[in-house]
Assembly symmetry: C2
Homo-oligomer: 106 residues x 2
DNA sequence: TTTAGTACTTGACATTGCAAGGTACTAAAT
DNA sequence: ATTTAGTACCTTGCAATGTCAAGTACTAAA
């Protein structure tokens, strides 16, 4: 998939996933990969950025299968931002699709 | 609009616009702005890049209203690329929208 | 002759995805 | 006991690309 397409929806997907339930980074890589191909080097910095912007709060939980997991929890501000991104995503689709139709693409 | 969303569809929109009819840069800025807010500093380098990749061919035409205009014409390779991007855009929408629905966003 | 609109170009900067490498923990295989 | 594999996190350096700002130059109207 085109790199650029991916960029636009990455934040939205991560926010929506964490909104459903608290998740840790490694788990998110797998979850997000179901929609867009993505790797750790992308997800961890993104999580850090969204945390710095107070859209996530984090806490540690030990695991029996490896090192402790850092869980991400969506804050109230994060929820607002998520809703805003959803709206923008919908508007983008409407805008682009009507432009494509208008230009008579086959 | 989220900066990132814009990036993903910019190429597609430009290709589709030029596919309909040959256009010059300044004209494209206005045309593309109908869908996503964009400025000259974005469009001209993008046109140059797509031309370097042989998706566009260019020619000059004088204008009575200012300096000569550089027109962009979609090549066969450009048309193939455009069709490919359209497909990826459609797949992205399907993937993201089904993920959102699955996560039960309101 | 100055201003505004048209038209193109480019350099410096910021953002951000990714590859690659590193650390460290657990459990199973050798 | 040691190695290997899977889990889990983080960071550095690089590349791609959108934006801001500034510059050039042409035409036409004030």
């Amino acid at each position: 998939m085109n790199v650029q397409f991916k960029k636009g929806v990455l934040e939205l997907i991560v926010l929506v996933a964490v909104n459903k339930k608290d998740m840790y980074g490694y788990e998110l890589v797998a979850e997000v990969s179901r929609v867009v191909d993505v790797n750790e080097g992308t997800i961890y910095p993104l999580l850090k950025r969204l945390t710095n912007e107070h859209y996530f709060e984090t806490y540690l939980r030990e695991s029996t299968e490896g090192p402790p997991r850092k869980y991400y929890h969506l804050t109230a501000a994060g929820k607002l931002y998520m809703i805003q991104l959803e709206e923008e995503w919908n508007n983008l689709q409407i805008g682009v699709n009507s432009f494509l139709k208008e230009q008579g693409y086959e």
